[in-house]
């Protein structure tokens, strides 16, 4: 006769700790500030020095963050739009905009180059002349007289060129043609469309925060309103990091919401179908509720906020925690849950510990959002386990009588091990060969972003219109002073063939020699100029400066020149040189596919963040995989200590299923990245859970069937996520769980000997 279910004493302590306390805590939280969708938390943490971080920050703010803006109106030109735009763009979110093709910037920049030509260009001139002189085979003592003759001849020839008329003012102070020579070496300025206004708008707000993004959208709307009122048919297009981040975050948030709803819905529906009774559902919901509360509360307590992607990945806790209730409830048999607990205590605790261990690996992830998952899911699982132990027996009378569907408890067909074991072994061997033959790893930061094709196309079109592309072949170097910056650039040039990098040369010795002979040079140049038809007295400004030639490219002059230069660089031109007062940064073109030599890496980096972020992902994946090897070895030792002889069986399930799971994922054409590796570790822990139950079970694996079904469903839904990295995690775990269930089924198949024993 079935014993009556007696309600145990109310577990006040468990109720308080597992439900009441987290609910009270969560009620005190300001929910408008807790859900965070800052894209930075999806980027790997930087391992850069403080100086490198300052340089990266400066590059982001001045090169990556500004809004790229294009406006036009029928029958109007750029110059007609400019004044109205400058007035309309005076918005709190924006700093002073830079308009492409505006001559005012060019004039100011030219003025700085003119005022500092000796500091910036004289050392290059001397070096070039030394090279030419060396090729001329003149005897060394004649260098100064050769130099004077050459200078006068070059000047005379320059006057034949059409552009010489524009330099008539400057030539008396620059007979060496330092400025015209330097300007001629610059790449031609890109042509600017005269029918449209293209602006580069620096920001006064953070484009990565929702508040900053809203301020930018408001400012752009205000510009459109003002400009439309003045120019009929006016249209504008804008893009930037703010727009990409906003689109990505919006899509992520929407998707996370739907993923959670779908996962909970699918699990509950599945449980209802498998158990057939709402009472069973009530038992399973309790640990799910506790897991959700503990998961959220722990995330908020430790991090102060939760990233939406962390919330998406953490939702797997719902699928995992429901398993605990299923394991206990399925073992009730004719007794009650308190009596069932000792049966499941060992496998359930082992399962919980191993799964927590799997998720704790996320603390090694370089991404802040994934670290949150590493705390939230284990806490949620521990909460779920405690709920199963202390709350479910108390809730049992409420749930009433229930019984699992008969097919859940139906034993499998009698099949001897030697029949299926070779097939399983062969399958594993083929999977292992697949893994060894095709290294399947792809580390791409774009896999962690929601696809935002429309915004990205708009951004690329606008970036193309100003010839500003975040290409891989650009590097930047940083230093604490202009002199150090130049020295470092020279160090780079010694190791890497660079074109188009015009640096003040480091020729201290040659310069000292030249300075010591400056009087001779002045006298020789006077003579040569007169001989070539010039009025040497007209060059008095130059000869005056020649008296202080030793100081022309001193550190002080160079610093002054760089400070003045950097103040006149606007828009994309800022990439040439920038400073925040303490750190100096210069960007330059690197040869295609060149790697930064190890000796330069402390001060040289790639401008395109994608490559370095991909490398960070690769390092993180390899680091996690290495740590996992030791972790899994530890788990294996624990399993053998706890299960002794049956430990081999328990361990065989995860080893077999994860190998097949990964091989299946690859065979379906999916690459594996950081999250896929984390998924494989998680899948190993889940499969070990099934292995532990299968190794200790003498009955059909009913709880594993329910557990695998719910977990498989949860991760299958995750595998449809539009973020490829999250989808990869879902695919690896779903495939591995499927094979783990299959392995557990095979291990629990009735054997002839066992049947005979049972009959006896």
């Amino acid at each position: 006769m079935k014993p009556p279910i007696t309600r145990p004493r109310t577990p006040w302590l468990a109720l308080l700790g597992l439900l009441i306390a987290p609910i009270i805590f969560l009620l005190t939280v300001n929910w408008t500030e807790t859900l965070n969708n800052n894209i930075l938390e999806l980027l790997p943490d930087s391992e850069e020095s403080v100086e490198a971080q300052a340089a990266r920050q400066m590059l982001s703010q001045r090169l990556s963050y500004p809004v790229i803006f294009k406006a036009s109106a029928p029958g109007t030109t750029r110059s007609q739009l400019t004044d109205a735009f400058l007035e309309a763009s005076a918005q709190p979110a924006f700093r002073s905009p830079f308009i492409l093709g505006d001559n005012r910037y060019q004039s100011a920049l030219l003025g700085v180059l003119k005022d500092n030509r000796e500091a910036l260009f004289a050392s290059n001139w001397l070096n070039a002349k030394h090279d030419e002189f060396a090729a001329s085979n003149f005897p060394q003592p004649d260098f100064i007289s050769w130099l004077a003759t050459d200078a006068a001849q070059q000047l005379n020839a320059f006057l034949d060129r059409p552009e010489s008329m524009a330099y008539a003012d400057d030539i008396p102070a620059d007979p060496l043609l330092l400025l015209p020579t330097a300007l001629a070496q610059l790449p031609p300025a890109p042509e600017v469309d005269d029918t449209a206004l293209i602006a580069w708008i620096p920001l006064a707000v953070d484009p990565l925060t929702p508040q900053g993004q809203q301020a930018i959208y408001d400012a752009l709307a205000a510009i459109e309103t003002q400009m439309s009122a003045r120019f009929p048919g006016y249209s504008q297009l804008a893009s930037g990091v703010y727009d990409l981040a906003h689109a990505s975050e919006q899509q992520t948030q929407d998707e996370v919401t739907w993923l959670n709803i779908e996962m909970v819905g699918a699990i509950l529906l599945l449980l209802l179908v498998l158990a057939g009774r709402p009472g069973f559902l009530l038992l399973t919901i309790a640990p799910v509720l506790v897991a959700g509360l503990w998961c959220t509360a722990s995330g908020l307590l430790v991090f102060g906020h939760i990233h939406v992607v962390a919330l998406a990945v953490s939702s797997v806790v719902l699928g995992l925690s429901v398993d605990y209730a299923v394991h206990l409830a399925a073992k009730r048999g004719n007794g009650n849950l308190r009596e069932a607990w000792p049966i499941v205590r060992l496998p359930l605790t082992t399962s919980c510990v191993s799964t927590c261990f799997g998720f704790l690996f996320l603390l090694l992830s370089p991404m802040a959002a994934l670290k949150q998952v590493g705390i939230m899911v284990p806490t949620g699982l521990v909460g779920a386990l405690l709920a199963v132990r202390y709350l479910l027996p108390w809730l049992e009378p409420i749930a009433g009588a229930y019984r699992l569907r008969t097919f859940i408890e139906r034993p499998g067909p009698m099949l001897r091990k030697y029949i299926w074991l070779p097939v399983a072994g062969l399958a594993w061997l083929m999977a292992a060969i697949t893994l060894l033959q095709s290294p399947p790893f792809v580390d791409d930061i774009q896999d962690f972003q929601a696809p935002i094709t429309e915004s990205l196309t708009r951004y690329r079109d606008l970036a193309d219109s100003i010839h500003h592309r975040d290409v891989n072949e650009r590097w930047y170097v940083f230093a604490s002073s202009p002199v150090e910056l130049i020295k470092r650039l020279h160090d780079i040039r010694e190791k890497i063939q660079l074109t188009g990098l015009h640096l003040p040369e480091d020729n201290t010795l040659e310069w000292k020699n030249f300075a010591s002979q400056s009087n001779d040079f002045a006298a020789a140049l006077r003579t040569q100029l007169e001989d070539q038809g010039f009025d040497a007295d007209a060059f008095a400004p130059f000869f005056d400066k020649l008296n202080s030639v030793a100081e022309w490219n001193s550190a002080k002059k160079l610093t002054t020149a760089f400070n003045e230069l950097v103040a006149q660089l606007h828009g994309p031109l800022q990439a040439l040189l920038m400073t925040d007062g303490s750190v100096w940064v210069a960007v330059f073109e690197a040869p295609p596919n060149a790697e930064i030599p190890a000796s330069l890496k402390s001060f040289t980096q790639e401008l395109a963040q994608q490559k370095s972020l991909n490398r960070a992902l690769k390092h993180a994946r390899e680091g996690i995989a290495r740590s996992a090897q030791w972790g899994l070895l530890g788990i294996a030792l624990c399993v053998f200590a706890l299960f002794r002889r049956r430990g081999v069986m328990a361990m065989a399930v995860p080893v077999w299923s994860v190998t097949l799971g990964i091989a299946t994922t690859i065979s379906l054409g999916n690459p594996l990245g950081l999250l896929a590796v984390i998924g494989a570790i998680l899948a190993f822990c889940l499969a070990l859970d099934y292995g532990a139950f299968a190794a200790t079970s003498r009955e059909p694996p009913a709880s594993i069937r329910i557990s695998a079904a719910t977990t498989f469903c949860a991760f299958l839904i995750l595998s449809f996520c539009s973020m490829p990295a999250v989808a990869q995690l879902g695919q690896v775990v779903a495939a591995s769980v499927f094979f783990a269930w299959l392995a557990a089924e095979l291990l629990c198949l009735p054997q002839p000997k066992k049947l005979t024993e049972n009959k006896a």
Partner: protein
């Protein structure tokens, strides 16, 4: 406006060729630099200024763009502001409508003085004196703000057809 009208090129469906000499005076040179060459105007308004001595190079004006061939046969655009290039090409092409819009003119002996009204041009050029003889432009003297002076003197006008006419504009 008789003189001003003479700024326009004669209208004919052939390429006009005009020999010229140029003197460039710089404040820091004792005597001017001298050049000689031919100016060509195609029926479509394109202009080519081909210098022959002391060494060969040419300037081609297509629309508002000024292209330079440094003697190697390759035309490269000169970096110029679009508006300024347009004013220069208006002047060389003798576009009377545009010249009246961007320049003021006042009579001088045997000709007229053109003064730019656009601020960007005024920064570079003080004024241009044009003299005429027999109803045609005889000399053009460009007085720059930086004291450099260019003086062009034009010879006889001839007309070209066929390959000879196309050669100065070849890219």
């Amino acid at each position: 406006m008789r003189y001003a009208d003479a700024l326009a090129w004669p209208d004919k469906d052939q390429t006009a060729q005009l020999a010229f000499t140029e003197e460039r005076n710089f404040p820091f040179r004792k005597f001017p630099k001298r050049y000689a060459g031919n100016m060509f105007r195609a029926p479509n308004g394109e202009l080519a200024i081909c210098y022959e001595s002391p060494h060969a190079f040419r300037l081609v004006i297509q629309g508002d763009a000024i292209l330079l061939d440094d003697g190697d046969g390759q035309l490269r655009p000169l970096p110029t502001d679009g508006a300024d290039a347009r004013v220069v090409s208006d002047l060389l092409r003798g576009d009377l409508g545009r010249l009246r819009a961007d320049w003021t003119n006042e009579p001088i002996d045997d000709g007229l003085r053109l003064t730019p009204t656009l601020e960007s041009i005024r920064k570079e050029i003080k004024y241009i004196d044009v003299t005429f003889a027999d109803g045609r432009v005889q000399t053009v003297t460009v007085n720059q703000r930086n004291q450099a002076i260019r003086r062009y003197e034009f010879g006889a006008l001839t007309w070209l057809t066929g390959d000879t006419a196309a050669l100065p504009f070849a890219e």
